[in-house]
Symmetry: C2
Amino acid sequence: MKQGNRYGLHRVLEPVGTMPQPAWRIDNTMDLYSNEILLDVETLNIDSASFVQIKEAESGDQERIGEHMKKIVAERGKHHNPVTGSGGMLIGTVRAVGVELAGHIDLQPGDRIATLVSLSLTPLTIDEITHMDVKTGQVSIKGQAILFESGLYAKLPEGIPDRIALAVLDVCGAPAQTEKLVQEGHTVVVLGAGGKSGTMVLCQARKSAGPTGKIIAVEYGEAGCERLRELGWADEVLNLDCTKPVDVLQAVEKATSGRMADVTINCVNIPNTEMASILATKDEGTVYFFSMATSFTAAALGAEGVGKDVQMIIGNGYTKGHAEMSLNLLRESEQLQAIFEAKYQ
Amino acid sequence: MKQGNRYGLHRVLEPVGTMPQPAWRIDNTMDLYSNEILLDVETLNIDSASFVQIKEAESGDQERIGEHMKKIVAERGKHHNPVTGSGGMLIGTVRAVGVELAGHIDLQPGDRIATLVSLSLTPLTIDEITHMDVKTGQVSIKGQAILFESGLYAKLPEGIPDRIALAVLDVCGAPAQTEKLVQEGHTVVVLGAGGKSGTMVLCQARKSAGPTGKIIAVEYGEAGCERLRELGWADEVLNLDCTKPVDVLQAVEKATSGRMADVTINCVNIPNTEMASILATKDEGTVYFFSMATSFTAAALGAEGVGKDVQMIIGNGYTKGHAEMSLNLLRESEQLQAIFEAKYQ
């Protein structure tokens, strides 16, 4: 068995010398290196921004979406959407553990795991698409994948159905970062609060800000807003299009009597919402961009363009203990469980 | 005189309802609104990432670079490079102040100012390009520009030549943010330390980290490294290509005995340096991306892909007092003055 690099460099085909994530194409042959883990894939959970883009490009046609996905994997060796730059996650069963890792990690052939690294760097093959949920971007396949030595994973937890665990783990960085950022008494604006990451962020923001905090949820569409109102986690729920920064500015001004947010968390899965996030935030406040549709330059130049002194953070999908923290949040909240059960069963 | 919106919304042509920066096209007719400032432009200071891209696209041909710039402005109403998404800044003379602002701000017709908002949102016309420095991206033109009510500017300071002041003000966010982030005793890695923002960041990092701190400068090419060694601000100067993350990882490991950086500041003006920044940084350290060539998804997914718990910050071109702070840094340091004088005279 050949020995590979810890970070998967041995799989990079082009450009040579880059890491697997930024690489255009990686080697997805399923011959195992001695420090890799081979998985039989069951479910792909495509990143929301990526799946929306593919769905729109294929006019929602399920068969064409499948072909589009297969084409990405055939071209790049990974499900790395070239338009959005994002990936997603997967559930699979361990088929083999490389000899160098066997005995040193807590995995055995037969264990069922969720990968906590992006599909945008995971060698993948798709033999067949067996089921697709076009609402959620969860796609059942027959295929295989490789996990590198540095790759994070979580064994699937007891008492939580797989699909729900995967959905939670896919966004577990967002509530975990929320826990780090939001302090008691903070005013927090959550943009895109009705989506998967948004809902978990909202739940955690309420918990972290406490009864003296003020939580403002922004969602587009009256139905989504009504669902958020029923949850009762937000002090105010605003029905707004986040690509219209001036609308968001004026509504948050009104809701906070002009004080604006200490922390704004962007979970919107469409582009052009950077400025709404910046304008909603007070000077010296923090904007946390979890949306993969965020443009670096739009954020950087946007803040400068309106002379706003805010700290803008790139959402890191990983922070220590993020998987356990998010699964515990789910276990604690029956409402959150009900939402995920309704969405992913 | 018509009244315009504080943020310049009245100039947005498409898509309607967006802010001037993300807009594809803005209105660059030079009829002044009552809350705008009209400028006669002397010098454009094109953002480094943008100018490098244009220069490469036109094989370094000065005439073609000029045509390329004019085409961008003709198409978009602003010098907003569609490839890099970035802009730059300008020096000009106040031609007229809208009636609503006159008397309420410290500007009079005839004052010479530098704009501190990006060219990517500034209505601009170029009648003629009169001089171009292809090394620095400073371009003298005949033309006009509009500053919105929210637009930041600095009157050109006494005792510092215009072109030098403009060069400093263009990147003044970077040293100002460095001052906020770097604490005494920190280990700091500056990627792209030989460039304009990199040099100022390096100077400030040395000052903020003090004698107990460790400053590591990374630059590509032996000549640039030698210049940095002569400055004496860095404890180590490493000659490395930052698009090769593994090289950077190994060199910083060696220089820090495996401890890695508390703060890594990325000032590299080419793409694909996100991973080098992440790998150079210790767990729970901070990566500050000042480079406009940064990809949001490459950073977010890159950190997750290698399981690295770092805080990643989007460089905000504006923070309170950034202009004064940077000009003072220049005044304090004869070495910095000498560098800017050599480069921009």
